[in-house]
Symmetry: C2
Subunit: 481 residues, 2 copies
């Protein structure tokens, strides 16, 4: 596998300094009534309410993304409820800001059975499930999807989640240390336990698997203990493709060690560029090819065949946007309870009494939503209720493609996690309108191969790259400790 | 819901003492290469090897069971590997005795998307996952299957599993005490947290759910701590339909408290009858209708259109049966390492030096497999390798139906967990050959309704019966503690 050059993801025709990157689009959704666009469930075009009740929500969505040759459907997840705004979880519950929430691992095989190329990445925390349990579940998912599976590693920061789980909330940096050990336990199971030739399936001898080619993992670390073989033979990718988010120093250390793709949120390519540069430097410091870690900012385009059509969709989004839900999300994520301000009184970024985090949030909004009429909490909540904190460019496919190109060029990103206003409508717009434009520009030409890792690094590259930390634990060299 | 009479599952025409029970058939499988019939994966007719790699194994199986109006597909599971025989896990690994093993929750939505009536029950242990995690996953499964979901509650007895999970193996009776608290935590989330009218979905007010109709669970017990609302609104059944196995005193206490169906293994209806009587008495002691707990023995019929055809299938099963895998399974389950005896030397049940558990096992085999030529360990392993410890009646649909009827009459069981020799072939035989015969006899007439609980208790009975312990925690009366 080591002979595969994963830089071939750059198009052959593009040489020299200004070569165009082959970009990835991931659908970005969550098993909840509103992920990043709040109140939009009231729009009859939005099917988000049916996620829990109707498998066809998922199978139809998967077909739309498959048609648009999206790389993956990325499903966020949480065990916590936003409870900062008004000091209560009530606003989030009342207006459906990421609650109710289902388990994203469950609809995957229904979607996999109606697709051939689309991959599926889910968020799972290293804080709430034993590594052995997760190892088995993820190997099952990777097997049954034919290697079209990815994991978005999170460590869980919400106090509400730790209370629900009945576990202490671990301090931020310590969570990443635990997650590091957690990942190494999983590599031992996924990479180290079964040799490539351990599975025999020999009718003559009756030997199904050769125990002499299967190692016991004896892990006795600071946080985890395990003695056993991996209970499942290696799946197509062995280790699922690894996503991560988090731009704190501890998060970057963890991500540049383990992640193959990093999901970021940023207001502008200019603001993102130094962060991407830092991530790639940190990746290089760990002996990895800095271009091998793919960076995906969240992006919620509102696309119309004409500027007018796009503008009308934006107006529709504003009509349905729920400020209270937006504020529940904003306050929960930032830790600032905006209910301390009058809902309709303008907050000036220059007001000295305003919390620095509010300043920063306002600066963000100013960029992503320059047409907010006045900086009142109500308006902040309303604009947040379209695409969350991320950019919501509005326009024709040509305009949106220009913006994406700018992000790729300025910020050196590798693609986008595409959020939605209405689902699957927003994704249909990308598939029907934006993808043909990107393709025309030579920006979009998904790689062959069946597994998620091959879609990113090229055909044949099913396993972790040679320079990835997980390869240290491969069967041939793993010492069983 | 309380007005539904779940005894209407007896056919209207059948009155008086000798009324015929409406029986249930469940498909009995496991996400592994051989569940209870070992070595059969070498038969080209068996598709068990493809379970991990090919979703169509599951969707095709589901269609066969749906056609036969099976009540549910019941998937066993484990985190442990049998390691008693020869004091090693090697025989189980080498011959594929329940290893490799996948996660049974994963293929369910693929199967649900191609069926309308078939339900799905999976085994999950109360020992290895936090209640909050399981509550969310199972609510998701119950939502997405439209209430066609059941849980087989186990407490995990294998030392190999506890080592793999890095947790101490808890003593048998204590495990059931912990499981009792675990179930009560789940009832609080499933039954007690959300009122029936908590979900609003009101476009006008923008209210998605009413927090005033959602209770926080504040559980602080001996083994579990939890503060939070159930993160998902109630699914069609709220609490999934509850299966349980285990005939130890602690197991019966737990089952008669919580189970709605109990899965048993027995060699004959005569041997089973007193156990069933005891279970029903224990159920009645707890204030529950003793007929409301459904009893399902495991049963692996080998069916042919003629006696000759059935006999030929049996001979084929013997041809592929793997004695070493059978012995790994037998020794693991019984705790007796049969490798202490010469593989080909006869063990006489009358030999005084033979362990009492071997006596008992031999007596079992004598009943289920009377044609074993000699009681050598090799032969024991070989016959165990067809259907495990359970009965493997061989014959025409008429003969098998006679046997099932005898079990129902003598042992007062409510149906059968149907094991397979080859999958889906053995299930196809039941659907194509046995089911028509059962139907002709008025034994088989699945109830209307969409949820698993309605299929068992009658249309409209989606929720737990009024006399079930879980109903104590329903929203209306639950105190939030």
């Amino acid at each position: 596998m080591s002979s595969v050059d994963h830089n071939k993801s750059a198009l052959p025709a593009d040489k020299g300094q200004k070569k165009k990157k082959r970009i990835h689009l991931n659908g970005f959704d969550m098993f909840t009534v509103s992920h990043l666009s709040f109140g939009q469930w009231r729009n009859p075009k939005d099917r988000s309410k049916t996620k829990r009740r109707d498998l066809s929500y998922w199978t139809d969505l998967a077909k739309v993304l498959e048609k648009g040759e999206f790389t993956a459907l990325f499903l966020a997840d949480t065990y916590g409820i936003y409870d900062t705004y008004k000091g209560s979880a009530d606003p989030a519950i009342r207006y459906g800001a990421q609650v109710p929430m289902g388990d994203p691992s469950i609809p995957i095989t229904a979607m996999a059975s109606v697709t051939k190329n689309l991959s599926f990445a889910i968020t799972t925390s290293t804080s709430y499930e034993a590594p052995y349990v997760v190892a088995k579940r993820f190997s099952t998912l990777d097997h049954l999807t034919g290697g079209r599976f990815g994991w978005n590693i999170v460590t869980s920061w919400k106090a509400s989640a730790s209370k629900a789980l009945g576990l202490p909330l671990v301090e931020h940096d310590r969570r990443y240390q635990i997650a590091d050990e957690y990942l190494r336990v999983l590599y031992k199971l996924w990479e180290g336990s079964w040799a490539d030739d351990a599975l025999k399936e020999e009718n003559g001898s009756g030997e199904y698997a050769n125990p002499d080619r299967i190692k016991y993992v004896h892990h006795h670390g600071e946080n985890f203990h395990l003695d056993g073989i991996h209970i499942l033979d290696p799946s197509p990718q062995r280790t699922p493709f690894l996503f991560q988010a988090g731009t704190s120093p501890a998060g970057v250390t963890f991500g540049s060690t383990h992640a193959e793709a990093i999901f970021v949120a940023a207001i502008s390519p200019q603001a993102l560029a130094p962060k991407v540069k830092l991530i790639r430097e940190e990746v290089a410091k760990r002996g990895r090819d800095p271009t091998s870690v793919k960076i995906f900012p969240v992006f919620t385009p509102i696309i119309g065949r004409t500027e007018e059509e796009a503008k009308a969709k934006y107006e529709e989004a504003l009509y349905y946007a729920n400020p209270e839900a937006g504020l529940a999300f904003f306050s929960g994520g930032s830790g600032i309870d905006l209910s301390q301000y009058d809902l309709d009184q303008e907050i000036k970024p220059t007001d000295v009494h305003v919390d620095a985090r509010v300043h920063s949030a306002l600066a963000n909004l100013q960029y992503t939503s320059p047409d907010i009429p006045a900086w009142t909490p109500r308006n902040i909540g309303k604009w947040i209720a379209i695409g969350g904190n991320g950019p919501i460019p509005v326009g024709t496919p040509e305009k949106i493609a220009d913006i994406l190109e700018e992000w790729v060029e300025v910020a050196d990103v590798d693609g986008f996690n595409i959020g939605y206003v209405v689902s699957p409508g927003s994704f249909e717009d990308v598939t029907e309108l934006l993808v043909p434009e990107l393709r025309k520009r030579g920006l979009y030409d998904p790689l062959p191969g069946t597994t998620l890792r091959e879609k990113v690094y090229g055909e044949g590259q099913k396993s972790l790259l040679e320079d990835h930390v997980g390869r240290q634990y491969r069967y041939e060299t793993y010492d069983g400790k």
